[in-house]
């Protein structure tokens, strides 16, 4: 066998790993039969045919489906986030952000997999992992869209040191989110299936509720005592739900664990349950709100609604940009800086608060049932 054929044979041997286990025998059959094929082009074609078969079989199975989908979405996200008009300092931060996020999303599964194992075989785990990745890609897209407009000249906030520091902090926080998504959906997950399901469902509901109560990150303003009173009641209810959900999850986790696990593991389960709820809620509200902010330059109705309903909206004069036309700026830049920082704080604090409340809930269960 010449050098090229030996390389192809080695590649075929390696590629067997991506095939479903029950099909690997056939790839090995092609590989072993290559020794009978005359050396040269015929043998190379034989091995190439085997490689084509392994790739096709792997693609038919799940093993390549998710990596191919990830590659396609990552490529689309990079392409979308990469562009920027000349002189737009935000383009540099956008490119760093999208590149770093793709690297994080691609490499962390290998790292987390060494301790937690591959993704669990359940549909719930795959759904949560896919949804989590989709949310993170969506957040990258909407953040880069906001930054492209808000940091356009003459602001050039993208060149400021604080913007880069904020970006590094954001990437570190998002690496934590990716690690959490991978850990809770892995075969050796620290959370049982019920905790993941209720945590993600409750977190999503809380995130949507938080978004509805303040789509742009600020409380809403209503004219008239009736609507204002209803909104205030909704805010109070929302606050209680936001606190109760991780508490209840912690109680439920401790109750489940008390039937089978040692006493100390109940607090850990409650902590995990609260963490999942807090992280999910933060990610959902960050994606939805940042997407709404990204729409502002393009939607006149939304801008009018925001002007009349956001209590802390600060109109500021100045050239906006080609999208809105000259002469008007509606606090977008100042708001964007606050929003960007604000949602980073939400992304950082919400999981920690969820942890604390969940642990408190499970600890309370232990104390009550002693």
């Amino acid at each position: 066998m010449n050098r090229v054929n030996r390389a192809m044979a080695a590649l075929l041997r390696r590629s067997m790993q991506v095939m479903p286990a029950e099909r690997r025998e056939w790839a090995e059959a092609v590989w072993s039969e290559a020794a009978e094929v005359p050396s040269g082009w015929r043998q190379l074609r034989w091995l190439a045919g085997g490689l084509r078969m392994t790739v096709r079989e792997a693609a038919l199975a799940r093993r390549l489906r998710y990596p191919l989908a990830f590659a396609a979405v990552a490529a689309g996200t990079v392409w979308s986030a990469w562009s920027g008009p000349p002189g737009n300092a935000a383009a540099a931060i956008n490119r760093v952000e999208v590149t770093a996020m793709v690297v994080i999303l691609a490499t962390l599964p290998w790292i987390v997999g060494r301790t937690r194992g591959a993704v669990s075989g359940s549909w719930l785990a795959r759904l949560v992992r896919t949804g989590g990745y989709a949310a993170i890609f969506a957040l990258v897209l909407v953040r880069t869209a906001v930054r492209r407009v808000a940091d356009a000249p003459p602001n050039n906030l993208g060149g400021a040191t604080s913007a880069w520091i904020g970006e590094v902090a954001y990437l570190a926080v998002m690496a934590g989110y990716v690690a959490l998504i991978l850990a809770v959906t892995a075969r050796r997950s620290p959370a049982d299936r019920g905790t993941v399901a209720t945590g993600v469902a409750a977190g999503t509901a809380l995130g949507v509720m938080a978004y509805a109560l303040g789509p742009l990150g600020f409380p809403l303003r209503f004219a008239g005592a009736g609507p204002a009173g209803l909104y205030d009641a909704a805010m109070v209810l929302g606050f209680y739900l936001a606190v109760s959900a991780p508490l209840a999850a912690g109680l439920a986790a401790a109750r489940r664990d008390s039937r089978s696990e040692p006493a100390g593991s109940g607090v850990r389960s409650g902590l995990t349950a609260g963490l999942i709820i807090g992280a999910t809620a933060a990610l959902v509200v960050a994606v939805l709100s940042t997407a709404t902010i990204a729409l502002l330059p393009y939607d006149a109705w939304l801008r009018q609604w925001a002007s009349s309903h956001i209590g802390h909206w600060t109109p500021a004069a100045g050239q906006w940009g080609p999208v809105l036309g000259p002469g008007t700026r509606q606090g977008y830049v100042a708001g964007n800086s606050a929003f960007a920082a604000g949602y980073l704080i939400v992304l950082l604090l919400a999981p920690l608060l969820g942890c604390a409340l969940g642990a408190w809930g499970s600890r309370s269960w232990r104390l009550l049932t002693r």
Partner: protein, 115 residues
């Protein structure tokens, strides 16, 4: 017996070769030479035939010196019945699979029985 229909011309060519000496175990390269099919086409066909229970596969029991063991194939009794019916039905209209129109099939060689 359930009739199996809808075999592709390439699959029929493989079945025809396997039918010739149904008790003999065949190698993949031999089947490729006889049918003119490339490995990337032949082995998926063999895979599907094995999945359907029409063909059985096994590894060579003894490893030849300096070479890996080869994978061997032959039709199951059910496979022989289906293949015979399908090949007979297609014989009058089928062109040789994997070969240009007008080229004749090679004269089938008598091969030694495999261990």
């Amino acid at each position: 017996m359930r009739r199996r229909s809808g075999f592709s011309p390439q699959t029929l060519a493989v079945l025809a070769v396997l039918c010739e000496q149904p008790s003999e175990w065949r190698h993949g390269y031999e089947l490729a030479k006889r049918t003119g099919l490339k490995s990337g086409t032949l082995y998926p066909i063999l895979m599907r035939l094995a999945d359907r229970g029409l063909m059985e596969a096994r590894w060579q029991s003894e490893q030849p010196a300096g070479r890996p063991r080869r994978h061997l194939y032959r039709l199951t009794p059910d496979g022989l019945a289906c293949a015979s019916a399908a090949v007979t039905a297609a014989a009058s209209v089928a062109k040789p699979a994997g070969r240009a129109p007008g080229r004749a099939q090679p004269h089938p060689r008598r091969l030694p029985a495999q261990a």
